[in-house]
Amino acid sequence: MAHGRGKRLSRWGWEVIVQHEPKPGVLARRDAIIAGLRRLLPEDNVIGDALRLKPYETDGLSAYRQIPLAVALPETTEQVAAVMAYCHREGVRVVPRGAGTSLSGGALPLEDAVVLGLMKMSRILEIDYADRLAVVQAGVTNIGITNAVSANEFFYAPDPSSQLACMIGGNVMMNSGGAHCLRYGVTANNLLGLKLVTVEGEILEIGGAYCDAAGYDWLGLITGSEGQLAIVTEVTVRILRSPEGQRAMLAAFDSIPVAGACVDAIISSGIIPVALEFMDKPCIHACEDFAHAGYPLDAEAMLIIEVEGSVVEQDDLLSRIREICAQFNPISMKVSQSAEESLAIWKGRKGAFGAVGRISPDYLCMDGTIPTSRLPEVLGRITEMSHECGLGVANVFHAGDGNLHPLIMFDANDPESFRKAEKFGGDILKLCVDVGGCLTGEHGVGVEKRDLMTYQFNPIELNQQRRVKSAFDPQWLLNPSKVFPLEDTTPPAMAAE
């Protein structure tokens, strides 16, 4: 990293990331702060000893690790408010945490920060089928919402691959997507309201069980704000009635540009499948080895296309789609014949990251978005870059919306390999910006892409965002060292103040 100040973190004995310099006063008062937190929460819910702090040292981006000052695990909104008010008074930084599955290091602790874990707030508070909403605490898992309503044939739409573990509070803060967001939108499109705790410890409700919250769109601003603005304790989500059925098909092609052209043709025909996923050859192989879904091993590119509705409607849509695919000389097409076959097809896709993990000791998962028209060119360039740096890459992504997930394979025992992987990843993201896309489609900026923000935004734009952060968190106590480049994270003054 370019600059000298700040705290360097390392995992394998070499420097990987820099965070804010710890506040010496806070480190010195560690025991008093832990005692202070113990006065606010049940005894067991404050962690101070090294062994029990260890599980909180990292998140889904395990290259970066830092043991926090302490961990606080509140069970109610009021307890969250008490902890926040206390930390605010004491000038202590706070890193909120859900399940810790962030792939961008969004929940990475700081040495002088209290990690505020929401996982004990895991109750479903209300389900209303007539008004099609559920009110849940922030620590309810994503799948937990769907599980709670599935007996009534309802579901919660955004379905990140991490849905068994990740929590709705984390989903809100990352504005997570999923395989079905082409049809159903991302987290932001499926929320109605939030209960928040401000950095000062005040409890706020925004939005609610209705559609039109007059005034500024706080719900939209908070969603995807990566723990920078406030703590989420409760979430009101839209729940939807399940379709009558769904069915997936596979279409395999012998070239990536042809598969890309086929995606364009499907969308241009007026069909928006519920899912339209793309895998390249390395990914197909990795996933097939693990899921045995009958993926075509001879293909350069494969599409998973899912439609929904009654059997008749599925047949109609699938025949339209098959007709379109047929114009692109597919190597093979396979329509799932049963619910089990569809499940196997999705098992491969949803397990893709894990599957790549089986063939490479370590991987970095990138997450840029590009205009879909630039797909062939960008994938071609990524392959070239892979040859240039000598690291393998597997591509699996949401084709309908251009959200790429190149998985860069490297060896964590080799510092050189990690450095190359980081550079390769950074170059891919810069390429995404160059072609008119962005650094992150759904995994967030976190610490990982923080220093690339200057590539997408100019100083004026970053300062505008930083002033919004300051409006919520004037002293920058909430999740510092994330999202904004470290060089200039002194709270900007408001001109008129």
Partner: protein
């Protein structure tokens, strides 16, 4: 009135107003000037000359246009490619007594969404990118031209619905969708509001992807030719998709709703006319002196709001969004406004006084006030964009 011809001229004009610390009345064509609170400003700036479509990529489901571009021009361009704006942008010009065409910047700044809001989201859900000039005269971008983007804070959503109080949008990029091949509407005549909303809940909770759900009481229905012949109140659920799907689903929905009464199925042409009327609140255009409110509550609470306001001042109106959007017309008085606020608050909802004489709009809370802790943040966010409070001061709330 100054109408810049380019974003650079816009930035210069705001920069000059900032230097002079003089407030600016920011607007497009002014079609919504008679809504919200009026702005007292030394300067007046219109985006009307910032016009033109910058990008349209049908297969990427995206277009970008300068903020002063007429919505009608965009809709025509999309229609030529069998696509449409997802949130079904309403046009309240008739209600607001304006003949000015709406601009894209205007409908985004006002955060307006039509009947499809209940199924596919609001305008804010489809704004993918903006370019804007803040109150310092600085040009900023947020979002972009791709469908998925979580890079940095979502300033796009914050600007949508902010009525020009934070920044002046110069260019907007929006997601679009293929227009349906066919529409049909399942219509049940003669229900009271409570039964109607139960029927709409059943329709929206069905697997048939109902895209809009409204209830017109007899008086409102009589003003919409597409349903007037049903003679009485009408409970309406729309389905739109490929032709075979629409036929199948409308039929299934009709039988699923049999317990509520015998349903008619309105065809494509009738559905188009009907939902345009619902979208633009045409049934309320008849009484030009009435004030008009939009009350937003949880759908099942809609009938209670209707009953309360009928009792309070003989309110007329209708329900959209499955019951969650209550359109209310009544006398333009403080007392009626107080009754609307009370009814909305009782149900934990929100309101907007959409139309009323200046005196009323400037005297009352046209949208709900915020609790203290939120109001403090609001004020700071306003300053973060507009440190001298020169952009549309007081447009949304007194002092903001």
């Amino acid at each position: 009135m100054f109408a810049p011809n380019s974003e650079a001229e816009l930035a210069q004009a705001i920069g000059a107003a900032y230097a002079a610390a003089e407030p600016v009345w920011v607007h497009g064509q002014g079609s919504k000037a008679q809504s919200m609170r009026s702005v007292q400003a030394a300067r007046s700036l219109s985006t009307r000359n910032l016009s033109g479509i910058e990008l349209y990529s049908p297969k990427e489901l995206i277009f970008s246009a300068q903020s002063g571009t007429k919505v009608s021009e965009i809709e025509a361009m999309l229609a030529a490619n069998d696509q449409h704006m997802i949130a079904e942008t309403p046009d309240f010009s008739a209600l607001l007594g304006s003949t000015a065409p709406q601009t894209l910047g205007g409908v985004v700044a006002a955060g307006l969404s039509g009947p499809r809001r209940i199924s596919l989201g609001a305008t804010r859900d489809h704004v993918m990118g903006v370019r804007a000039v803040n109150g310092l005269g600085e040009t900023i971008r947020s979002g972009g031209r791709v469908l998925k983007n979580v890079t940095g804070l979502d300033i796009c959503k914050l600007l949508t619905g902010s009525h020009g109080t934070l920044a002046v949008m110069s260019e907007i990029t929006m997601k679009v969708l293929p227009a349906p091949e066919r529409r049909a509407t399942v219509a049940i005549a003669g229900l009271d509001p409570v039964r109607a909303v139960a029927a709409l809940a059943a329709a929206l909770g069905s697997p048939y992807a109902v895209s809009a759900a409204a209830y017109l009481p007899a008086q409102a229905a009589a003003r919409v030719p597409a349903v007037a012949w049903l003679q009485g109140s009408v409970t309406l659920a729309r389905i739109e998709d490929f032709t075979p799907s629409v036929a199948y689903r409308a039929d299934r929905l009709r039988s699923d709703l049999a317990a509520f009464g015998v349903a008619e199925i309105l065809d494509d042409a009738a559905s188009r006319a009907l939902w345009a009327a619902v979208r633009d609140a045409q049934p309320l255009a008849a009484a030009p002196d009435d004030a008009i409110w939009r009350v937003s509550v949880r759908p099942s609470a809609g009938p209670r709001v209707v009953a309360a306001l009928e009792a309070a001042f003989g309110a007329a109106g209708f329900l959209d969004w499955g019951g969650g959007l209550v359109w209310v017309a009544g006398p333009a008085t403080d007392a009626a406004h107080a009754a609307v606020m009370a009814a909305a608050l009782r149900e934990g909802g929100t309101w907007q006084l959409l139309r009323g004489p200046d005196a009323l709009r400037n005297a009352v809370a046209v949208i709900p006030p915020e609790p203290d802790a939120m109001a403090r943040i609001s004020a700071r966010v306003k300053l973060a964009f507009d440190p001298k409070s020169i952009l549309n001061p007081g447009r949304m709330r007194a002092g903001l």
